[in-house]
């Protein structure tokens, strides 16, 4: 089964993602950006599901660090932030898809497929 790294400081959001796609991916959880980068430096993942607004290190900083380090994988940014400029920032940092919360299985699977296609891993 492919492995997804889910980065979100909210245990509730983590639980919702696990419920929605836990049957399709083995889920590895990180609670903030710093923890996510630690995982990404040591392990290979098939998908990154990334929140933006987090303590310690936010999602935009994770994307910037991934860009610097040449880490490539499909990225779906899951955020409550509806601002158009947020989509621009995520795109500039290499995030493939921005998915606004609340999440549903249909929306998440569509976003994952889009991210896979954009990353060339479909």
């Amino acid at each position: 089964m492919p492995i997804a790294l889910v980065v979100d400081d909210s245990p509730i959001s983590q639980a919702i993602v696990a419920k929605l796609v836990g049957g399709d991916y083995t889920i590895v959880e990180a609670m903030n950006g710093a923890e996510a980068l630690e995982f990404l430096s040591r392990e290979c993942f098939d998908l990154l599901l990334l929140d933006l607004l987090m303590p310690v290190m936010d999602g935009a900083a994770v994307l910037a660090a991934m860009k610097d380090r040449g880490i490539h994988l499909p990225v779906v940014v899951m955020t409550a932030d509806l601002q158009e400029r947020t989509r621009d920032i995520v795109a500039a940092l290499g995030g493939h898809v921005v998915l606004n919360k609340p999440l549903t299985r249909a929306k998440l699977l569509a976003a994952i497929a889009e991210a896979n296609a954009a990353a060339g891993t479909a």
Partner: protein, 200 residues
């Protein structure tokens, strides 16, 4: 004494669109319709806020608080009576299989996430419509005495802009308030931006 805002109609229209988006996302989370009512927009001295908010008594409330800055700045709050907050949190977590001895922690986390989504829906809609950019603080879920909601004014005159609406989820008997406090300087920037839209 409340002073009516000079651009009340434009402000109300833009806030109403955000409130509509908030009702939609909250309804999606709860799989139940959400009603928005009793909208209020006014400029007040902070000493008038307890009466205006109906929080003169020292009762405890649950608050999800989120600060924001950028094109306009202030704090946003979702306010519930404790029992309503518990019903709301429990509705969202049902079926998630969360196992913990610390129900309070689960409820706090759930309410923070609900607040994050609902407040972002309002502010993000406003920011997009006005062509402004906002930066958000991480939301906090607090149990406070209601009168402690009153903000510390930043204009030196003790004046604050209050935007408030009541929302109701009849299916689970949950009522709450959405409250925004803005600085007067933010109102001026909003008014300029709205005038630009009106004449654009």
């Amino acid at each position: 004494m409340k002073d009516e805002l000079p651009d009340l109609t434009l402000l109300a229209d833009i806030v109403a669109k955000g409130l509509g988006k908030a009702a939609a996302v909250l309804g999606e989370m709860l799989e139940s319709p959400v009603s928005i009512m009793d909208r209020e927009y006014c400029v007040l001295h902070v000493s008038e806020l307890p009466l205006a908010l109906g929080i003169e008594k020292g009762e405890y409330v649950r608050v999800i608080e989120m600060g924001f800055s950028g094109g306009f700045e202030g704090t946003a709050h979702l306010v519930f009576m404790p029992t309503d907050a518990e019903r709301l949190a429990d509705r969202v977590t049902v079926g998630l299989g969360l196992v913990s001895d610390d129900i309070e922690s689960i409820r706090r986390g759930t309410l923070s996430e609900i607040g994050n989504i609902v407040i972002n829906a309002i502010l993000g809609t406003m920011a997009n419509d006005l062509g402004m950019e906002l930066t958000y603080m991480v939301p906090l879920c607090l149990r406070v005495v209601a009168r402690d909601l009153v903000p510390i004014p930043t204009d030196g005159k003790g004046t604050v802009v209050l935007i408030r609406a009541r929302f109701s989820v009849a299916a689970i008997e949950v009522d709450g308030d959405i409250i925004f406090f803005l600085s007067l300087s933010s109102l001026e920037r909003l008014a300029l931006s709205m005038q630009g839209l009106a004449h654009g």
